[in-house]
Amino acid sequence: MIRPVAARPLHFIWIVDCSGSMQEEGKIQSVNTAIRDAVPLMQQTADENPNARVVVRAITFATKARWHIEKPVPISDFLWTDVKAGGVSDLGDALRLLGAALKTPPMEERALPPVLVLLSDGQPTDDYKEAIAELLSIPWGNRAVRVGIAIGRDVDLDVLEEFIANPSMRPLQSNNPDALVRNIQWASTAVLKAVSAPASQASIGGQATVAVPVPSPVLASPNNSSSDAVW
């Protein structure tokens, strides 16, 4: 009587800064390790929320941006391949690449809000403002849950806030590898879980977002860190 139904796709996209500064103090290796370690947790979260079909991709940006993993991969099959750092920081190019992927098509008519996680340690070297505006003008770009993870203290937090474009969500500061791991795990599990099973939100004054739990404060505490690195 009713045609075949299907779980809605949930597109999870990593946007990783691979500029030259990410080579310093093991930052890029920490990113690789943290994302790889988050995959089993994402798979577990996906298993617990079968009504969401989680697919994962990744964009890297340095001098220009490119797809690191272009075709959406089901989380059950996802494997992280290490990225390397070198070059400048063309964030705008990355966001334009992202925007093209969020248009319909190729995005499905019906899907859960995408989760976009931007990791960066510095300041963009190209025109990113227009790219952010373009991204937010695309329906799926606007409906996405956008997370910004700052790596180290040299990050221009204003840029991440412009990307997040939600006064209720702050960039997540990661000043050492442990903090980065915690923030990446939060983005890839708590946020994923919230978006997988979203409740409707009354739109008051034109704004409403997916209800995601606010993460516990990540304190920069080198004495408690398992690593000597402080970024």
Binding site: M1, R110, N166, A202
Partner: protein, 330 residues
């Protein structure tokens, strides 16, 4: 001219996600008047209302909010139909647009306030309702008053009952559709064409929706009016968004609603009504995971006379879904 009858049927199922999280069904469904005991057609005036409680942490009483929404809306619409049965169609259209949204919202607010009086919000619930993004452990969305012009404390508390509303009211001469928030009202013609009473809701960030609990919620209502024409409309389908979100494409959703109409014509509304709960249950398990409610009114003259004879004793409603309460509510 004999007044044409309509056959009401439908079902509401708890979402697969809510089953896993042990939350109640947040949807509600109601007809007025109560169907006849032999399952036959109901003569207008009649109304069908569906509501979807938000279910977010801020809307922790939205199962009650949706129940109040369908009760209030069926009463308001039934009174409107009775009062305007003979009025000129132009006057009815204008009155419907100008008065129905305001009346529904005001009476819903009264129902909510009455419930608050009987069941005051606890201190913990009050903190939850008034939490700002920086200190709410459950949400990262803008807090009350942060971006809602004119939002009062009463509005903030009523957000706990937040719900959408879809409604169809049928007289002997015209049909009205009313909607605030997400969900779908589909119109199926006897020729098998499927259209929408309203265009799909504006794109909202995340999973946002318009709501009965918003300040000046009547400004966000959509009202549609049309004279009833013979040999045109075959069925009206009201569904909460859990159903449409279970289909990859709009065309699949429309095709399935058409399929239900065709099966009713091929078999009977009673037979389809009995299958609906399982059908919707399959949709939530394999599709959206959300609560799903589907309410239908079928033009009796379009159902095969042989099929009508199969109705027999018993209500046309799926008895497994609804308690036998006056007004036929879930």
């Amino acid at each position: 001219m004999a007044v044409e009858g309509w056959i009401p049927l439908g079902a509401s199922v708890r979402g697969a996600q809510h089953v896993r999280s042990e939350k109640p069904n947040q949807d509600a469904l109601r007809w007025a008047p109560h169907p006849t005991s032999d399952g036959g057609a109901v003569v207008p005036p009649l109304s069908l209302c569906v509501s979807d409680g938000h279910g977010s942490p801020h809307s922790f009483r939205s199962d009650a909010g949706s129940r109040f929404a369908v009760e209030v809306a069926t009463n308001v619409l039934h009174r409107f139909l009775q009062k305007n049965e003979e009025s000129s169609l132009i006057a009815v259209k204008r009155l419907a647009e100008e008065t129905i949204p305001n009346r529904i919202v005001r009476e819903w607010q009264v129902a909510v306030d009455r419930d608050l009086y009987r069941r005051p919000i606890s201190e913990k619930e009050r903190e939850l309702a008034a939490a700002t993004p920086s200190d709410d452990p459950h949400e990262a969305s803008p807090g009350p008053g942060a971006d809602g012009p004119g939002e009062t404390e009463a509005d903030t508390i009523r957000r706990a009952y937040g719900a959408t509303l879809l409604a169809t009211a049928i007289s002997s001469r015209y049909i009205l559709h009313v909607q605030v928030g997400d969900g779908d009202i589909l119109l199926v013609s006897q020729k098998g064409e499927v259209g929408r009473a309203f265009s799909e809701d504006e794109v909202m960030p995340g999973e946002g929706t318009r709501s009965l609990c918003a300040p000046r919620a009547w400004d966000h209502f959509r009202v549609s009016f049309a004279p009833l024409e013979e040999d045109a409309l075959g069925m009206v389908a009201l569904s909460t968004d859990g159903l449409s979100k279970s289909f990859p494409k709009e065309a699949d959703f429309r095709g399935s609603v058409l399929g239900i109409y065709e099966e009713i014509r091929r078999t009977s509304s009673l037979a389809v009504g009995e299958k609906l709960p399982k059908t919707l249950d399959d949709a939530t398990r394999m599709g959206s995971g959300d609560d799903i409610t589907l309410g239908l009114v079928v033009r009796a003259s379009t159902v095969d006379p042989g099929a009508r004879l199969q109705h027999g004793a018993g209500p046309a409603l799926a008895p497994a879904s609804f308690p036998a309460t006056p007004g036929g509510s879930r």
